[in-house]
Amino acid sequence: MTDGPRIGVYVCDCGFNILGTVDVPEVVRFAATLEGVTSAREYKFMCSDPGQELIKKDVRELGLNRIVVASCSPWLHERTFRKTVADAGLNPFLFHMVNIREGVSWVTADKAAATEKAKALVRGGVRRVALQEPLEVRTEPVNPDVLVLGGGIAGIHAALTIANSGKKVVLVEREPSIGGNMARFDKTFPTLDCSSCILTPKMTAVKDHPNITLYTHSEVVQVDGHVGNFEVTVERRPRYVREDLCNGCLECIEACVYRDRRFANEFDLGLAKRKPIYVPFPQAVPLKPVIDPDDCLFLKLGKCKTTCVTACPRDAIDLAMKAERLTLQVGAIIVATGFKPFDPRRKPQYGYGTLPNVVTALEAERLLSPTGPSEGVPRLRDGSVPRAVGIIHCVGSRDANTNAYCSKVCCMYSLKLAHLVKERTGAEVYNFYIDMRTPGKGYEEFYKKLLEEGAHLIRGRVAEVTNAALSKGEIGKLVIRVEDTLAGFVRRIPVDMVVLAVGMEPQADAQAVRRLLTLSCGSEGFFTELHPKLAPVSTATDGVFIAGACQGPKDIPDSVAQAGAAAAEALALVDKGTVEVQPYAAVVEEARCSGCQICLGLCPYDAIEFDKEKKAAHIVEVKCKGCGVCVVACPSAAIDQRHFRTQVVLEEVAGVLA
């Protein structure tokens, strides 16, 4: 590189995406006049094969030694062009990408202003690239194990897929059993498969798989490290029953001093009761009891005959059990933490929590489940079977007051609930919808089938559910008041039970999980994928993938598909065995270092050591993540950051302003 820079500038039209707002030929003419620029060109799509060929050809024929591409965001195509530049025989770090699409053409209304902004940014890029140095990408070995967070259907499917490939998986679930929300459902749409029959074999497969370590009743509390080598701390809450000894005979539950089940069972959403020692549901995995310390007399008051302990033939009950922390090393992490159903108390006009017999859809699922509190036949509070049921769609979805987005699954599950309620009770069923949204394989057909079955479908957003009767027929009923927008008048429909089709929201602690893994969330709070189309399960944090409803509302087939995709991405990473690390590390110029050691305490990664003999700081490159905090802090300007050297950034600043 002794001959000085010979820079090639490539300005992309991106079809009309850039060309429509930026005068690209003008930017090219301008770029050609800049110092060090040998060639400047315009091309329709720089990222296409012919676009990339253009760069390679120019490097060959014009002897270019530095490349600037002005196109989209480096988040999208920096890797693409670095590879092109490397293929052309140059060091990939002698390249700079100028963002004139997301950063200019898409955000600027005025063409002249956009063109001037693009020119300024190109000038900054050209001046920057002239000072850039060749760098080598370092590779690090990758730990082949994978962590899956969350044991719902997405987590289960991802864990099994990875385990089946021969890799080791650790599956961490917060609840005492895996299964997630799918375990609560009776049937799944549109095929009306029995949910348990398709889910429980997968749950058992997780338990029996030699490559899966399952930690239930546990949470990930800390994540350190980075792609390929994460260090994860898992806290195992005490189950008070030793999983290694318990054989699942459940004698202890029988023997509990509480004769009756009197505590709300979380799995049944409080609709059924359990004892302080319980299994959440009969198909739970692992099928080992758990003791709730808030309900157990001994754990709460220290006084109890502890009949459960004496009843256990294997001495598996350990009331002195404490929470313990484990540290795991993994190479990749799949986040499948699921969703939270919308709390309909936020829509008080629908009477949830104040009017009896107004239930959420998830509660309706339990009422319809043969293992649920009413053994599959929905019943009212008084024990009778409803003769008319209203299902209100879009509760907490498509609503400016709560969530603006569509929860995607509610139309279909409401139709399914309508079918099941009709089948089990013979009741008249009324569905109240805004728009019927049934895109999906076999979904529209299912809708047609429901119409043939005689479900009543009324278009209109329900105004209120009330027990104030205006006529004899309404006495003792829940009255649904709605404007029927197809018939064009307000109707009052008396029913015995109201099911609220609640939408899907991010988990209550999604923000904590986001921080744990430095993910990002969209405005609704769901985790954001790296690219909505081309990287739907990757995240901005390398090595962390997302699957299922934690990324946005989705049904079971979509969750499973995404889990498979996340598993494949994780496998592609760990199976390769090595990971490339960006060479943006900080470096110390020993001769300038005064040995003050200010930088040592500032480094968040303990990557800086002090060499006592040389009396100088030394940066351990494998530990340095390239944030650059120490560079700024050094009072002797002895530290600099590769690729973001102070001189390089200053040149870019001067360039955009020149």
């Binding site: 988040w75 990002s520 405005s523 944030c627 650059g628 700024v632 802090a633 600043v653």
Partner: protein
């Protein structure tokens, strides 16, 4: 016609925006993807972390003719590098005082926490800064 003349005469502030790669730069990308429109005055310089923004960068920007400097980083607690944004904040507060001593109004130097999803905050932060600096007029900073 009147309006056109007024617009021509209008002072267009030159702003340099140092955006961290992980939050604010990604938010600016999202603003683009969402086709939000905002003032073209801010020229973005990407850094890996707001903690890499050297006071020298800011001084160089003012010296090279910037009328304002904006730093965008992850929200406190959200830094991709754990705590670089806290370092940025401490330096920012100190540097802003020093700049004030040199006659540079605090409105010309700002720090904003903008997460990757807050595209709208990029738009409002840039538009507000451009508006405020426009009111202040060009920075006439005599160097050396």
């Amino acid at each position: 016609m009147m309006q056109a003349t007024v617009q021509e005469a209008r002072f267009e502030p030159r702003i340099v925006a140092f955006f961290c790669n992980w939050c604010t730069y990604a938010a600016a990308d999202l603003a683009g993807i969402s086709r939000m429109k905002y003032a073209p005055n801010a020229k973005v310089v990407r850094v890996m972390c707001s903690g890499r923004v050297d006071p020298d960068f800011v001084l160089e920007a003012f010296r090279s003719g910037a009328d304002g400097v904006l730093i965008g980083g992850c929200h406190p607690g959200d830094c991709h590098y754990k705590e670089g944004n806290f370092k940025a904040m401490r330096r920012f507060l100190l540097l802003r005082e020093v700049l004030e001593d040199f006659g540079i109004e605090p409105e010309r130097f700002r720090l904003e926490w903008i997460s990757a999803s807050e595209a709208d905050k990029v738009r409002t932060a840039v538009d507000r800064m451009v508006g405020d600096v426009r009111k202040l007029g060009p920075l006439r900073w005599k160097v050396g």
